[in-house]
């Protein structure tokens, strides 16, 4: 394998990582953009999605559509969980200081992590790739699994659909309005509370979807929640909290940073990631494509 091929392989690996990160971070960013809540439990939703997908795959048994059904089922269940939490609890904290919302979502992290341990134990669980995407492809001499290609296509597809909803539909206009000025939107007679619930549900759905889709690539273990939420924070900070395309760019940068950072400074790659996050916050706190908060 030549150097160029090796680097190309690293590049593709970085893109795949980026697409998963985009799926997770986009939900986090959308929720922040509208609700102004930084949801620490977003990583926990991702983890619950992964466990639920594993559970459903194993309950349904082998079959051509089992994996897809499980992934969508997991994402839907996580969305439902998000809606219930928003309606019953989070809603009552909107008027309070940011700190209370942060600590509430942190409490959810603790509760959901232990709930997952109670339900599924601490052993590593894994899911087989769906049969239809089991093969691999040779691309300029680099072997790329079909599943990774699928993820590389799905990421942009989801980004595009979210963009279409936000910029080409009525509900999207309402959501953008809520992000800009919620009081004004409420005064104009819109049901801002319902918008919040929808937004939290959609964000949770994306987290659950990412969790379900990651199961064939990564093992499902306790601790994956905390690991991913820190990474998602880095991505949204780079791109800009609340910005959709910012999240795409943040994920791509972070993915490549991980892929090549390992080669350049293997020992200090985690250090470099947080240093990058700090530098961006210092120079441009609202991120590459975000808007400054008023």
């Amino acid at each position: 394998m030549s150097d160029a091929q090796f680097l190309f392989g690293q590049f593709l690996g970085g893109i795949t990582t980026a697409m998963f990160l985009f799926l997770i971070a986009s939900g986090l960013s959308l929720i922040f953009g509208v609700l102004r809540v930084l949801n620490f439990a977003h990583g926990s939703f991702y983890m619950i999605g992964a466990y639920l997908a594993w559970q459903m795959v194993h309950s349904i048994g082998p079959g051509p559509g089992a994996f897809w059904f499980a992934v969508l089922g997991a994402a839907g269940s996580v969305a439902l969980l998000g809606v219930v939490i928003e309606r019953l609890l989070l809603r009552h904290l909107y008027g309070r200081e940011d700190l209370y919302q942060l600590l509430f979502t942190y409490a959810l992290v603790l509760v959901l992590a232990d709930a997952a341990k109670l339900l599924w134990g601490t052993q590593q669980l894994s899911v087989q790739r769906p049969g239809i995407l089991d093969g691999a492809l040779r691309l300029f001499g680099v072997i790329v699994p079909h599943y990774n290609l699928f993820i590389m296509v799905l990421g942009p597809a989801i980004a595009l659909s979210v963009w279409l909803v936000l910029y080409r539909t009525h509900i999207g206009r309402m959501i953008r309005a809520a992000a800009l000025d919620r009081e004004m939107l409420g005064a104009l007679g819109a049901d801002v509370g319902r918008l919040y619930t929808i937004m939290f549900g959609v964000g949770s759905f994306l987290a659950g979807l990412a969790g379900g889709l990651v199961t064939p690539v990564k093992t499902v273990v306790p601790g994956m929640d905390v690991e991913i939420i820190i990474e998602a924070f880095v991505v949204v900070v780079i791109g800009g909290l609340g910005s959709l395309w910012g999240t795409v760019i943040g994920a791509l940068i972070y993915g490549q940073f991980l892929s090549f950072g390992i080669l350049v400074f293997p020992r200090f790659s985690i250090f470099a990631v947080f240093a990058l996050m700090a530098i961006i916050l210092i120079i441009r706190p609202w991120g590459l494509l975000g808007r400054p908060l008023r």
């Binding site: 600590l103 409490a107 232990d114 341990k117 947080f274 916050l281 908060l293």
Partner: protein, 325 residues
């Protein structure tokens, strides 16, 4: 307003004197738990100088705790320095790091401030985690020596005690001095100005206060005392481990502050007491302590947002107001 008997009792002094009797209970376990509470109580109180007094939500206070713990641990273990030197160096190092980080942090507001404090703390954690030659890396700095506390034998009443009990007394005095200093700071004109900044930063700026400079000063003082707590924590555990700087420890300190009440000076200490005592009780029944903690935290946020001390204080002041009315 008439001063009640309750107010006239110097509660802090009473607790301090009572705490002197803890080793006399004869249980090594109680002494160790009490030492833990004191150290983490100081850590949480130092955080509250930012959170409650100045209104800055730091999600990375563990950074200064870790800098203090590693500085003292490395000086004592690797360079064989005495504890007194290690402690002072730890506090100064933590303060210096707080100057550096705080300089950038106070330029940001709200959620961005929280994120940047967290990013800095994660940088500290990553360095501790990976710099094997100096910090011991993932497995930490083990076998940090106990300070030589033989001189305590000469103090009447403290002779013939175990080293852990001597260390408890050392901790008690150091924490009491630090808390007294923090209380003086928060009640001084400087501290009042910090509260003004919390309540209305624009107005503070308007009357000619250099808000960022005040915030930075508070940040550095909070970091300094977190360093003191960290240094004592490392000795107490006979080792320093990277999770001293991990964000979960920052979150734990925030929980202590909220549990006790962030608008009360003694809130964080009471919060540390509650959290550690609960932890000891619950972990003897179940391994699912985080689940219990999460549920307690949620219940607390919805029912007693002012924390335990805050809620007690408002109950007491209500009761007092009634006869006057």
């Amino acid at each position: 307003m008439r001063r009640h008997l309750f107010d006239r009792i110097p509660w802090a002094a009473v607790v301090f004197v009572v705490a002197f009797g803890i080793p006399a209970l004869g249980s090594r376990f109680y002494t160790s738990v009490a030492t833990d509470i004191l150290i983490l109580g100081l850590f949480a109180t130092s955080l509250n100088l930012l959170l409650g007094t100045t209104g800055l939500v730091s999600f990375g206070h563990a950074a200064y705790f870790a800098v203090g713990a590693y500085t003292c641990g490395i000086l004592m273990k690797t360079y064989g320095m005495p504890f007194a030197f290690g402690l002072v160096a730890a506090a100064l190092a933590a303060g210096a790091v707080a100057v550096l980080f705080g300089f950038f942090c106070v330029r940001l507001t709200k959620i961005y401030f929280a994120m940047l404090t967290m990013a800095f703390a994660q940088i500290v954690w990553a360095i501790c985690f990976k710099w094997n030659d100096v910090t011991g890396g993932e497995s930490g700095l083990i076998n940090v020596p106990y300070p030589d506390l033989g001189w305590m034998e000469a103090i009447p009443g403290l002779g013939g005690m175990r080293i852990g009990e001597h260390y408890f007394y050392l901790t008690l005095v150091l924490v009491a001095v630090s808390l007294a200093a923090l209380r003086r700071i928060s009640q001084s004109p400087f501290g009042r100005m910090l509260t003004t900044i919390r309540e209305n930063p624009e107005r503070a700026e308007f009357i000619g206060v250099h808000v960022r400079r005040y915030e930075l000063a508070a940040f550095v003082m909070a970091g300094f005392f977190a360093g003191v707590a960290g240094a004592m924590f490392g000795i107490f555990n006979r080792g320093v481990f990277p999770d001293a700087g991990y964000w979960a420890r920052s979150a734990e300190a925030l929980i202590m502050v909220i549990l006790g009440g962030m608008n009360q000076f003694w809130g964080p200490l009471v919060g540390a007491f509650m959290l550690i005592a609960l932890n000891q009780q619950i972990t003897s029944y179940t391994e699912y302590w985080p689940l219990v903690l999460g549920v307690i935290l949620i219940v607390l946020l919805f029912t007693f947002p002012a924390g335990i001390v805050g809620s007690l204080a408002s109950v007491l002041s209500d009761r007092r107001r009634r006869p006057d009315a």
